[in-house]
Symmetry: C2
Amino acid sequence: MKITDRKLEIITIAAQLFKEKGYSAVTMRDIAQAMNIKAASLYNHIKSKQEILVLIIIEIAEEFTNVMNEIVNSNDLVLTKIERVIQLHIDITLRNADALACLNNDWMHLTDDELQYFVKMRTEYEANFRKIISEGVLAGELKNCNQEVVVFSILSTLRTMYLWYNKTKDLDAQTLQNTIATVFLKGVANK
Amino acid sequence: MKITDRKLEIITIAAQLFKEKGYSAVTMRDIAQAMNIKAASLYNHIKSKQEILVLIIIEIAEEFTNVMNEIVNSNDLVLTKIERVIQLHIDITLRNADALACLNNDWMHLTDDELQYFVKMRTEYEANFRKIISEGVLAGELKNCNQEVVVFSILSTLRTMYLWYNKTKDLDAQTLQNTIATVFLKGVANK
DNA sequence: TAATAAAACTAACAATTGTTAGTTTACAAT
DNA sequence: ATTGTAAACTAACAATTGTTAGTTTTATTA
């Protein structure tokens, strides 16, 4: 089941289209047209529209899962762990914004095993992040404010970065990393 | 063009369905079934599927626009203005989470005049919030870190609150308000 | 050159889509 | 009781959907 060049092209282009209008609103004919071929020709390379969605989402979800597991099981300070989570999101956003958009918006159109698998990964991911935050509070590294709010404030920002981060802007990855970390750790108010 | 009770029912139910699967993946037959009627019967009350989307999105978008304008033109401190923006989002999220989800995810399926109108409102909304932030930096109320990052960190969190805020939880609106304000203004790090 | 494989094509399918036309039912007002 | 209206219904439409079958083109290899 290796992924050929042409198959990768389909996935890449499909992800772009899915990002703009969502999985359901993009037809196989749309994808084909964007590649200057006919819809039926796509089936020489892929099994179904659903398979495209799976290939776009699952790989990225697994990457999030794996790196998050490393971070959680490391011996780093909580502040360092948080910085590493931020870095993970920035990294994937810069490398694959379209697929990330698809993961965020279209995961519910997965079916059967893949849907289950995805939801399990996402649930664990959130649980791991929650664990980091509560570990931080316990260790005295973080303030003791409502943890759910902290968890989802940070996650919301990281998850939707693909919407507002512009590669061409003056903002490089390192500055982005530092600014986000500063905003959440030290806040934006002066003094 | 007044909105009858039955029409409002359609909009409410449609918004619930759109929240789960997105506008494109929900059929008129889905909406009808959820109301225990047939799809054709919906057309006694609404003009088209598109009209449902418009009614869900535009009203809320206008509310955001209007209140944001009030805030921006007020004489409040910048910190107060930010708190009022947070309050605005909490208020609408608690009152109408489904419609808010729809606004966030399905606005691109608006067409023609309404699409233009929506994009204009959203652009102005973001510009107004950006103005508040830069005013804060200028007045020395806010740190001088990258303003785009600050703007979208806060907006991302507020915009996706409907995903994680659970009405039934212990968290009331006031606590939510205070926690979000604290997270962003003072940060989560201790000391 | 002939043969093979990969990847495009045309044509069509069965199902589903939003929507319309025309009809029947339910019920309030005359 | 009769009328009028709101809101449901059945039946069907034209267009679009994902997908399949079978064929032709293109490119590589023997």
